[in-house]
Amino acid sequence: MTQKTILNEAHRALGAKMVDFGGWDMPLNYGSQIEEHHAVRRDAGMFDVSHMTVVDLRGARTREFLRRLLANNIDKLKTSGKALYSCMLNEQGGVIDDLIVYFLSEDFFRVVVNAATRDKDLAWIERQAASFGVEVRERPELAMIAVQGPNARAKVLDLLPAESRARAEKLGKFAAIEGEGPDAMTLFIARTGYTGEDGFEIVVPEAQAVGLWNRLKEAGVAPAGLGARDTLRLEAGMNLYGQDMDETVTPWEANLGWTVSLDEGRDFIGRSVLEQQKAAGDHGVMVGIVMDEKGVLRHGQRVVTANGDGEILSGSFSPTLGKSIAFARVPAGTTGDLQVDIRGKLVPVRIVKYPFVRDGKAIEGI
């Protein structure tokens, strides 16, 4: 059965084109996904991300548990409210999911995982948590709205009462506070996102979510759908679970090595396989691709390299650049110019360093 977020009616009232996304009925766009993309790059847009799964972890040994569960090192989080991006791996080093974990207190951490992977994530976390005596509690009664863009923070701050506003204004990147919103709502405000723009991701009780959405809309924040979210995160060089990595892919193969912490003496799940693969050095790698020809790179297209075939992972049209960009997985050692098989025609493409877009502008050389 298709699930609906508390904002479903609000999306429909705005004329959204709805699609099934991981079992959720979600807005693809509200008319033009390109206009929504530009609204986020140039001003402020908002996304209903209530389909994402908020999981609270409680218990005296929660930090110790997360040292084992996550490939990134939870001990990087020393201050309450700080957040960390990490992969959660299986014993083979494959990515079960990517997630954000927030340190709230020594016996309370909050994890946000993907919607489409909810069931297996919860099962895995519960299984691993048992021996640490950590309580795993999903919070389905919480909705989430991501407000993103160069003017996003200012527009959110204007809605907050003075005390919360002062604290939210001081919030550093990748950190969160609990505070009060308009109409005395209780909010969890995090300076995080999935667009490459500044902004907040706001967790709000379902009962107040429509109210917050409407307040943001009145403040001039443009509703944006999953279509724009996808092109924004791709331009920003951010992976999408299921497209760029899955349980058969290690972080090394998904260019997520920067999130793996091989700190001494920490026995996280999947570590031994990651170390072997790193030592062997013969694994595929993920690279950024730009196509100067007309056309659009798509998931699954064959990439022809001097070292053998690779494939397009996330591929789309970049509204900011006006041409197509993609991630591709290619054999180790691939450099230089490649070709992509687009409906039987070999089209030249370039490997580039990504992100493709930063602060609303194309990165030089792209």
Partner: protein, 132 residues
């Protein structure tokens, strides 16, 4: 949603065809089709002079979301293509039945092939059923 003009004929695959006074056939994709595709970003047109066969793919329209072949509603020779589309593919989103036309065919066998196409009411019924 744009109203479906009464002088158009349709393929089940959402191409429209309009028989002009001089006997040529102007072709495009329907407003319903552009709605399904979303923002169009790329159009690959046939060349003037190409010989095309009814039901064969002769053009490609790509949106951010997907690429879609466009089939020739009738057989004949391409006598014109909409040169403004490669630079402004969004014209199809804005005016699928008008400014967003794709190409013009000088038909070989119009009378017979035209009978295979759907009239506006039949097409409206088709997309109505697709929506449910």
């Amino acid at each position: 949603m744009q109203e479906i003009p009464g002088d158009l004929k349709f393929m089940k695959s959402h191409e429209w065809a309009r028989v002009e006074d001089k006997g040529t056939v102007t072709c495009g994709i329907s407003d319903h089709a552009q709605g399904l595709l979303g923002d169009l970003v790329y159009v690959e047109l046939p060349s003037v002079g190409d010989t095309v066969k009814a039901g064969n793919a002769v053009a490609v329209v790509e949106s951010v979301k997907a690429a879609s072949d466009v089939y020739a509603p009738v057989s004949g020779e391409i006598v014109a293509v909409n040169e403004s589309l490669p630079d402004k593919p969004e014209t199809i989103n804005e005016d699928a039945f008008g400014e967003g036309w794709l190409f013009v065919i000088k038909p070989d066998n119009l009378a017979e092939e035209q009978a295979e196409l759907l009239d506006p009411d039949a097409y409206a019924e088709l997309i109505e059923n697709e929506d449910h």
